[in-house]
Structure formats: structure tokens, C-alpha cells
């Protein structure tokens, strides 16, 4: 009996990523769980259902795997993506009670997703949520995967977020949000993103922002490395962070699959220490506890290394150290940011595989001098060691940083928003939706501005003189 997670994939992007996640999760557990026993690790993401009598049987808590069902709700206001999932190799992992779909989509309009569909589907969502939660012995965390720039993921996704806070206030809410790039072809993506940001500010415990540009760059980089033949030996099969190889999905990959695999791997690594054993475990609630010093500063920049493993089995310490260095380099971050040149409030290193505490210590000591930590958290590192590596790797590292380098992403978002808002471009599409007023926009941009200002204040302390507050004096 373990803690379990419930995943909400909302919108097209959310469901595409979700689909990759489930596929890779199954593959990971199959690699570890050779005997087909339904164990604690599996139960964190999957139910084991007795389908022999047909239909939705009872949950089986122990023994052999019968039929695995993902602990998830798939929500989309268009049918295309979800239908594809249900016709694909993962169809048995979901049943109809886990789906909420509509046909017409949200027209890339946050207000339609949040106000119209939110209202329309509230009851249905609550009902399915409660049903799903009933199957969970100890529900620890909700994961929401969505994009910020559209209508469903952004609007309905954030509606679900605030709904979760109302219904289950004690369960942690982790949100993986894909932010639009500057060249996004959805013109109103800045509106959608900023309106969604206010919700994330107020209702999420932790947000992992992801930018498509960064995913794209990583995918290209891997491709280049393979093509250039710079790599002495060949890349180990199934080891690409972008690869679906070995999963249930057919070989024909879609253009976004490689990028979505990266996000899927992020979520697997984030939860690995809670699912598998290790010498220093880390639960999801520890991530929130250690990385969120002030309630609103809960945006964590993530980086994953290695992006692939070379085929040679022996892993010299230098290669291990390179993994740590890479985690702090610009081109491994999942948003366009450079944490090395900004200010760290806190940093977490989630290590998997054959890595010991001395390797961790050695690398922290080595990298510390080149990083800027805020004055009151000079040794602000949270670490975990999970013995089980990801499939195809001997070890891996996920770094999560609460760092002011996230500020430029927000500032650019604000700029793009203001460009449209000043001209009142496309506003009528939103304002004519019931429940939407001008104040929704002004409040949303104010919320974002306040957040940026908080980061500014922290940045201002960066190069200042360090004076420790005087200690309490005791009468002798």
C-alpha cells in the first residue's frame, strides 16, 4: 500500500505528452519488474484490475498483474488526440470512465476552456475525480500536464487545478506547463498564458515550466551528435531521452514525439525516488518543502542528463562528473534560461542508478563555486539517490532549480501580452464569454507583474554585500 499519483492530461499537448508518459512508464516498470507481480512501485501510477469477468472489475492489490489501468483522467475538448490514444497500443490502459471529451474544441481561447467548459463539465470532472480517488489508498499528489498557449489545456487545465484545490486541499498539485514560444502560431497565446499564469500563481504547489524551443534544441542536438559521428561508439539503444524505442508505440514517430518523450522522462525521474528504493529517498512532498521558500515562488527550472548513453558499459568517474556539469549548462535546461548566471534560491539533484553519496558530494563541491546562491541559503541543496536507473542508462540526473533565471520567460510573456493588450487586439473574443470581464485581464497581468517584481527584488540582493543578521544575545 503506497502513495499514489493521479495524472490529469488536459488538452491536445497535455494528452500527447501524457500518452508518451504512460508508454514509457510501462516500459520502465516492465524492465524492473520481470516477474509480472503487481508491486508497490507499479501501484503508484497504475491500478491492477480484475477484468476476467468483463467490464470494470475489482482492484487487485497483490499478486500477479492482471490488467493495468493508468491512474489518470484524460480531458480534451476535441476528440482527435484522445481517440487516437484509445485506438492505439495503450487503449487497454484507459477505460471510458477516465475520459472527458467534447467535439468542438476551445478555439484557442482560455475563456472558453476555463469559463464555458469549466462550468459545463465541473460536475462530471468532480465525479470522475472522486471515483478515481476512491481507488487510491493514499493519494499524495496530482500531476497536471497541459500547455499554456491554447484554450483547453490552458483554460480548462487551470480550471481543473483550482477544482483540485477545492476538493482535495491537502493533496499536492504539481503542474507541468508547456509555455509558447515567441513564434507561436496561435496569436492569442500570450493572453491565454497570462490568464493561466494567475491560476498557477494562486493554486499550484509547484510548476515545472517547459519551453518548446528548448525541447526542440535538445532534439536537434541529439540528432546532430548522432549524425556527425563525433561519438566514438554508437549510442546505446533505447537510451535516447527523446526515444520511444522499446515502448508499446509503433515505430512511426510523430514530429512532437521526441520532444514529448523528454517531458515524459522528466516526470518519470521526478517520481523515481518515491517509487523505487534507494539510500536517500525523496518524496514529492519533499520537493515542495525544500524548493519553495515562499509560497508564490514555486516555479522550478528543470534539466535532464544524460540525453543518451554511449554503448560502453564502464562508466569512469569523469563521465559521471560530466553528467553533473551538463545539468547546469544552458543547453540542458528545459526552458530558455541560464541558471549559472542568475540567482539560486534552492537546488535539488535527483540521481538515479549507480551513484553514491561521495559522487554527489564531490560534484556539489566542484560546481558550487561557479553558482550564485542567495545569502540565506548558501548550502541550499536537496539531494536524493535512487538505486534504479532509467531504462537504457546506468545513471541519470534530474536537476530542479528555484532560480531567478525563470524571470526572462515571464518578462517576455508580459511583453507579448502587452503588445496585444494595448491595442485591445482580439479582446472581444474573450470578453463576450460569460464570466469574463476586463478585470480578469488586469488582475492577471498584475499577478504576473507582482511575480516578476518578487524575482527582481531577489536579484537585487545578488551582488550586494553579505551581512549576516546579528545572533540572539544570551545573558550569561
Amino acid at each position: 500500500l503506497t502513495r499514489v499519483y493521479l495524472l490529469f492530461a488536459v488538452g491536445q499537448c497535455g494528452n500527447q505528452v501524457g500518452c508518451r508518459f504512460w508508454d514509457l512508464a510501462l516500459r520502465e516498470h516492465a524492465a524492473v519488474n520481470k516477474k509480472g507481480i503487481y508491486d508497490e512501485a507499479l501501484s503508484s501510477f497504475f491500478r491492477n484490475v480484475d477484468t476476467r469477468s468483463g467490464g470494470d472489475g475489482a482492484d487487485i492489490y497483490k499478486g500477479k498483474i492482471c490488467s493495468l489501468k493508468a491512474r489518470a483522467l484524460l480531458i480534451d475538448m476535441e476528440e482527435g488526440v484522445v481517440n487516437e490514444i484509445l485506438q492505439g497500443p495503450l487503449r487497454d490502459v484507459f477505460d471510458s470512465k477516465q475520459l472527458i471529451t467534447d467535439v468542438s474544441g476551445s478555439g484557442n481561447n482560455w475563456a472558453v476552456g476555463h469559463k464555458v467548459y469549466g462550468c459545463q463539465y465541473r460536475e462530471s470532472i468532480v465525479e470522475k475525480l472522486r471515483k478515481a480517488a476512491e481507488h487510491c489508498d493514499c493519494l499524495q499528489c496530482f500531476f497536471i500536464i497541459h500547455s499554456m498557449g491554447g484554450g483547453t489545456g490552458s483554460g480548462l487545465g487551470t480550471f481543473v487545478l483550482s477544482l483540485l484545490e477545492d476538493e482535495f486541499p491537502e493533496v499536492y498539485r504539481f503542474v507541468t506547463s508547456v509555455y509558447p514560444s515567441g513564434e507561436d502560431d496561435v496569436i492569442t497565446s500570450p493572453y491565454n498564458s497570462v490568464l493561466a499564469m494567475k491560476e498557477l500563481n494562486e493554486h499550484a504547489d509547484c510548476v515545472l515550466p517547459i519551453e518548446n524551443e528548448s525541447l526542440f534544441d535538445i532534439v536537434n542536438k541529439i540528432q546532430q551528435m548522432i549524425n556527425s559521428g563525433k561519438l566514438g561508439s554508437t549510442v546505446k539503444p533505447k537510451s535516447l531521452v527523446t526515444s520511444s524505442a522499446g515502448g508499446a508505440k509503433a515505430v512511426q514517430e510523430k514530429p512532437f514525439d521526441a520532444m514529448n518523450n523528454i517531458i515524459a522522462n522528466l516526470l518519470l525521474n521526478l517520481t523515481s525516488s518515491a517509487r523505487f528504493e534507494g539510500s536517500l529517498n525523496m518524496d514529492l512532498n519533499e520537493i515542495s518543502m525544500n524548493l519553495v521558500p515562499f509560497p508564490r515562488l514555486h516555479y522550478l527550472v528543470s534539466s535532464l542528463t544524460p540525453l543518451y548513453t554511449l554503448a560502453d558499459v564502464n562508466v569512469p568517474p569523469r563521465r559521471l562528473d560530466q553528467m553533473f556539469s551538463d545539468a547546469f549548462s544552458r543547453d540542458h535546461q528545459l526552458i530558455q534560461a541560464d541558471p549559472k548566471h542568475s540567482l539560486y534560491l534552492a537546488c535539488a539533484l535527483l540521481v538515479r542508478g549507480n551513484v553514491q553519496v561521495s559522487d554527489l558530494r564531490r560534484n556539489i563541491e566542484r560546481l558550487k563555486p561557479s553558482l550564485h546562491f542567495i545569502s540565506w541559503n548558501q548550502e541550499g541543496w536537496k539531494t536524493s539517490l535512487c538505486s534504479v536507473p532509467p531504462v537504457g542508462h546506468s545513471h541519470s540526473l534530474l536537476a530542479l532549480a528555484n532560480n531567478t533565471c525563470v524571470k526572462p520567460t515571464f518578462m517576455e510573456l508580459k511583453d507579448r501580452f502587452m503588445k496585444l493588450y494595448k491595442k485591445k487586439a482580439h479582446l472581444h473574443h474573450y470578453l463576450h464569454i460569460e464570466g469574463m470581464e476586463q478585470s480578469c485581464f488586469s488582475e492577471a497581468i498584475a499577478s504576473l507583474s507582482d511575480l516578476i517584481e518578487e524575482y527582481n527584488e531577489l536579484d537585487a540582493t545578488k551582488d550586494g554585500p553579505r551581512t549576516d543578521p546579528p545572533r540572539l544575545k544570551i545573558a550569561v
Binding site: 500500500l1 503506497t2 502513495r3 508497490e40 489508498d137 493514499c138 499524495q140 528504493e277 539510500s279 536517500l280 529517498n281 518524496d283 512532498n285 519533499e286 515542495s288 518543502m289 525544500n290 524548493l291 519553495v292 521558500p293 515562499f294 509560497p295 534560491l345 534552492a346 553514491q356 553519496v357 561521495s358 559522487d359 558530494r361 556539489i364 563541491e365 558550487k368 545569502s375 540565506w376 541559503n377 548558501q378 548550502e379 541550499g380 541543496w381 536537496k382 539531494t383 539517490l385 549576516d468 543578521p469 545572533r471 540572539l472 544575545k473 544570551i474 550569561v476
Partner: protein, 450 residues
Amino acid sequence: MSIVTVQLGQCGNQIGHELFGVVCRDVHGTQGLCSKKENESYHDACNERFFCQEESEVPVARAVLVDMEPKVISQTLSVAARSGSWKYDDRSHFCQKQGSGNNWANGYSVHGPRHKEAIMNLVQKEAEKCDRLGGFFTIMSMAGGTGSGLGAFVTQCLRDAFPTSFILNHIIWPYGTGEVIVQNYNSVLTLSHLYQSSDALLVHENDVIHKICAQLMNIKQISFRDVNQVIAHQLGSVFQPTYTAEGGSDYSRNPLGDLMETLVPHPEFKMLGLRNIPQMPENFLAYSTFSWPGLIKHLRQMLIANAKMEEGIDWQVRPPQPGSSSRSTNKPPHFNTSIANLVILRGKDTHSVDLGSFRDPSLYTSWLTPQDAFNAWRTPRAFNKYEKSAALVSNSQFLLKPLDSVVGKAWNMFASKAYVHQYTKFGIEEEDFLDSFTALEQVISSYTIL
């Protein structure tokens, strides 16, 4: 008399498991270097302390395992059982699912009261299995949420339920460069609370043990298991049976009581440090010879210079000259003043070892005579394959610097109010923090002016 061990959190359970393993291996080992009769006495005394022996079964450790998540306990239980030489009582554990999230307040204010009854029932059962209860030994880390927060709460419950029993808390001081970002908050809250209910706090610092692993044990890729095994060895060297009186014919029956009596004369001073000599990889032992004068000389200098191990000792540090007008002001820097010390000798020729250098009054504060401030326990029975070994348990300024450092960092963070909302969420308010800071500044001050 028996000791009931309470293993709290991941760290507590991992170390507790290594401790019972070391103790068991030592007792069944063949290199006792003493007579059969001696060996049997040692075996019996050790068993009484740590194990419950059912007729034909393997010895069962006198322990309660507590954790707020299930993985570590289930691993600990199964690995112990697989050893074939000892095991835990299958029912003597309590675990939950959620974990404490590294949150002291969660461990103390939420899990504590919620699970008090269940945990204390298990403790009561273990206590009842003992013919005579010698006290409680709790193992916990300060950095996380369960060992620290729930550990502090459980210690309080032990004190309330067993007002006349001895309680010794074994505390793991985390690495200075974080394992947990809020570790300094958790540490401050733990220490201040334990000070009220515990009789003494025996401390192991991860940084120190790590250095021992690297420099003395020659381990290249140090794992937590390596660290825990060194800690277990050091604990074993203190808690395995000894003769506490000169010419005593029986192994001491009251280890915790004896420890408190010799080392904690005043309730303001409860911080105990531990040093052990020699320490080396097992495969070196066959090729090494030691002399008692050499070992004692090193151990004494380790005490005076606050050295963490037998390498890199600063031999320049000397005790202050006798006859100085004001002891405090003339103290040389870096000199480690002691309140009380206990040296434990095990193995060959322990009866003839000269410990006069430890009775030098200049090592101590003026309130106790050296006769009272210094004690020695011995046994001819060698420990864990070391032909000769010595342990030092010291109530001195050993932990002053680490304590000051942790309080300083926690204060620094508190001044900015960072993370405080995570604690207030579970009922620990800013005033509670301030109370804890005040209590520890008092302890720091007391140890400073020795």
C-alpha cells in the same frame, strides 16, 4: 538490563540495522582473544542488552522500527531476516504511507499525536519483554522530517511514559552542504526539544564519518552503507559489554545508566561526541600491530585538539598551563575543554594500560575532580576483530563549532523568513522557532565559557 532501540526514519532504520549486524557478528566472531568463559559472559551480556532469545530461533533484536513511509522498513526487515543470524520481531514496526516531507512540524505536530498510541504500544511491548529495562536508545537524523520531528515527539512520549528510565538519543548530524535544504531548521527544532526530554545526545557527524571512510578506510566510492557501517562500529565499541569497575567480576548490567552517571553531571551539558581508534579496512588488520601507549597518546591528542580521526591531528595544541590565574582567558585557542570523559578499552592487555594522561586536571573544567571527571571501562575481549581498540565518549566542546554553525545558518535563513510558511502550515509558529533558537544559544553559551 536491556536496551530498547527505537529506529526512526530512513536514517535511523538504516543505522539501527547495521548496529545489530555489527553486534551480532562481533559476538559470534572467533577473534575474541580471550578465554571461553570470558567469551560466554560477553555473549550473555550482549544478548541481554540487545536481543531476545527464543529457544531454537535466531536472536530477535530488541527494537521498534518507525517510519512514515514503507520502503525502508520493509527493506530493513527482509535484509535482517536474510542474514540468518538475527532478525527483528515481525510485529515490532510502525509505518505510514505519506512520509513527513522533510518537515519537522509535520513529523512533530501531525504524525506524532496521530500515531502516538500505536507507536507507544509497540514500545511498551518491547519494554515488557525485558526482564529489566535499562533504558531507551533512539536513532535518528536531524535533517529530515520523521527522524527529527516525530523522533522529538516520541522522545517526549518516552519521557512521559517512563519517567525514571534513561533515554539516550543517537543523532546524525547531516553533511554541511545539504542533504536537505531546511535541515538547519529541522536540526534546531530537534535539538532544542530533545534537550528537554532526553538524558544525553550522542552525535555522529556525516562529514566526519565520510572523511574516515575516505582517508582511513580507503573507500573510493563511498555509499551511505559505508558511512553507516563505520557509525555502527563506533557505537558497538561503546555499547558492547565492558567491566566498569576496577576488578569487577561481572560485565556491567546498566550501560545507559553508567554512561549518564559518568558523563552527564549537569543537565545543561548533554552533548556527547564519540571517537574511536584505530579505524582501518578489515583486510589491513592482519598486518597491523598496535601499542597501547601509541593508541592512548593519539586518542588524548584527538580529544585535546578536537581531531575527528587519528590522521591529521594537530600536535601543537596543548592544554593550558597549570597555575594560570584565570583559566578561561588563558586557554590556548583550539583547545578542547572537557567536562567529563569516558575511555573504553577492548582487547589484549587492557588491564595494564596507563590512562594517567587522561586524568590531567588541565583537560577539564574546575567543577569536578579528575577522579570524577574521568572514567575508564575495560574488557579483555577484543571487539570486531581489532586486537586492541579504544573508544572515547566525551562531554566537551567537541560539538560546539558544529552546533554554532547550524544555529547560525538557521538564524540567517529565519531572518529572511524563508520556508517558515511550510512550518506554520502544520502548527509550528515563529515563536516556537524563537524559543528553540534561544534554548540553543543558551547551550552554545554554556559550552563556550567552559
